[in-house]
């Protein structure tokens, strides 16, 4: 079947998008609760987002 790989790539991107969105949203909630911990939360957020992004790039190999 041709074209299925594009659907797979799309699914990967949707998954990665949901993941990074969750991280961003939760980090904002956390910053709102504890503004004094902003720096630490941001660092942790960036690392987690980068790890998910790495998975997201698996979509590149599918296309």
């Amino acid at each position: 079947m041709t074209g299925l790989n594009f659907i797979g790539a799309g699914l990967v991107v949707i998954g990665a998008g949901i993941g990074i969105g969750q991280i961003g949203g939760k980090a904002m909630e956390a910053i709102a609760r504890q503004p004094e911990a902003t720096g630490k939360i941001q660092t942790a957020m960036l690392i987690a987002a980068a790890l998910i992004e790495g998975i997201g790039f698996a979509a590149l190999f599918a296309v």
């Binding site: 960036l46 690392i47 980068a50 590149l60």
Partner: protein, 366 residues
């Protein structure tokens, strides 16, 4: 005061240069309009140019255009080609005339096809397989290509910049001067916010030199990729592979007993569990540098493809609406890419520090 003026003049020259190269792009567009290429032809040209831009090349060409009498004119300079083919063959890449002619070196003939050098006969015949890849034999290519040249230049630049800064700090301890004023906060940030919390107060000093080098190397090279020079080094997977391998070697070589113990014989879990965890943990040590490699490579490649595609829209649309829209979009994306250039350098440094931290961590067992 004198130095300030030089810096300002340099900035001005740089901006003028960028604008000039955009202006040249415009004149190329006009010519395309003059020769009345069809939309399909232009689309194909843009489509062919994007992967070409992503590849490494044997000469440093800034731009090329077709002159009025139909000749291809290339502006740039050739780089040395070094081939090992039953003996050393060294010649300048200008011999290839950008793939248009065959280069003769000693007894052998070579031809350039899609940025790769193939061995041919005197007539320069290339045989292709079903996927349009040349099947001729390839000599071992040790050339100073565009990427190698850029890496060398950035290495030299960093060496002179930072050794001068170090000298200035030795003589004058009170206030940083010149470049130091710009870079000192970044160096302090890497020390206090990346190395110290992740590696620990006891060991962080050993890793500082690597972390600083890798951060500034990736950052400078990513930034160079956004200039009109058309360099992109970090979208070559070999470069990011080498960077990741260095992180892996440092992690493995400096690892303490606790690190290995937590991989091969995890304390505090039942014995059957230890056998399951061992291969997973061992695989994890390879996945970590692998993800470092893929992340940097894919981010920069994706950024370049998107930017080039949007800039290519100008040449496909060729009207005021499409042109201005894609210019605006490209400008916004260019600013985003500036952020990505720094962010990827930060992430690489941060994760390297995290892995070093896990290598030297000492656990107190209860």
């Amino acid at each position: 005061m004198h130095r300030k003026i030089t810096v300002k003049a340099l900035t001005l020259v740089f901006f003028l240069f960028s604008i000039a190269s955009f202006a040249i792009d415009n004149s190329e567009e006009e010519k395309a309009h003059l020769t009345e290429k069809t939309k399909e032809q232009r689309e194909k040209e843009v489509e062919a140019y994007i992967p070409h831009h992503l590849l490494d090349s044997h000469d440093f060409s800034l731009f090329s255009y077709t002159s009025d009498n139909g000749e291809h004119v290339y502006i740039g300079f050739p780089l040395p080609v070094i081939l090992w083919d039953n003996g050393l063959n060294v010649f300048m890449s200008s011999k290839f005339h950008h793939g248009e002619t065959i280069a003769k070196s000693g007894e052998n003939y070579y031809k350039l096809d899609h940025g790769k050098i193939y061995k041919t006969d005197a007539a320069g015949t290339l045989t292709y397989d079903a996927d349009h890849h040349a099947t001729n034999s390839k000599p071992l290519d040790l050339s100073i290509t565009k990427n190698v040249f850029t890496v060398m230049m950035v290495g030299l630049l960093m060496f002179f910049m930072f050794s001068r800064m170090a000298k200035a700090y030795k003589n004058n301890e009170s206030m940083p001067k010149g470049m130091g004023r710009l870079l000192e906060p970044i160096v302090i940030y890497i020390r206090d916010d990346i190395a110290r919390p992740n590696i620990g107060e006891k060991h962080y000093k050993r890793y500082m030199s690597y972390l600083l080098t890798v951060f500034f190397f990736i950052w400078i090279i990513n930034l160079l990729g956004l200039t009109p020079l058309g360099i992109n080094v970090t979208n070559n997977i070999a470069i990011t592979f080498c960077l990741a391998i260095i992180t892996y070697i440092i992690t493995t070589a400096t690892a303490k007993k606790d690190y290995w113990k937590h991989i091969f014989w995890m304390p505090g879990v039942p014995t059957p569990m230890k056998f399951i965890l061992m291969p997973i943990e061992l695989l994890g040590t390879f996945i970590k540098p692998f993800s470092l490699m893929i992340r940097l490579y894919a981010n920069i490649t994706a950024g370049h493809i998107v930017l080039m595609s949007i800039l290519g829209m100008i040449f496909i649309a060729q009207n005021w609406l499409g042109g201005s829209l894609s210019f605006l979009l490209a400008m916004v994306l260019g600013i985003l890419e500036l952020l990505v250039a720094a962010l990827q350098a930060y992430i690489f440094t941060m994760l390297s520090a995290l892995y070093f931290g896990s290598a030297v961590e000492e656990h107190d067992h209860h």
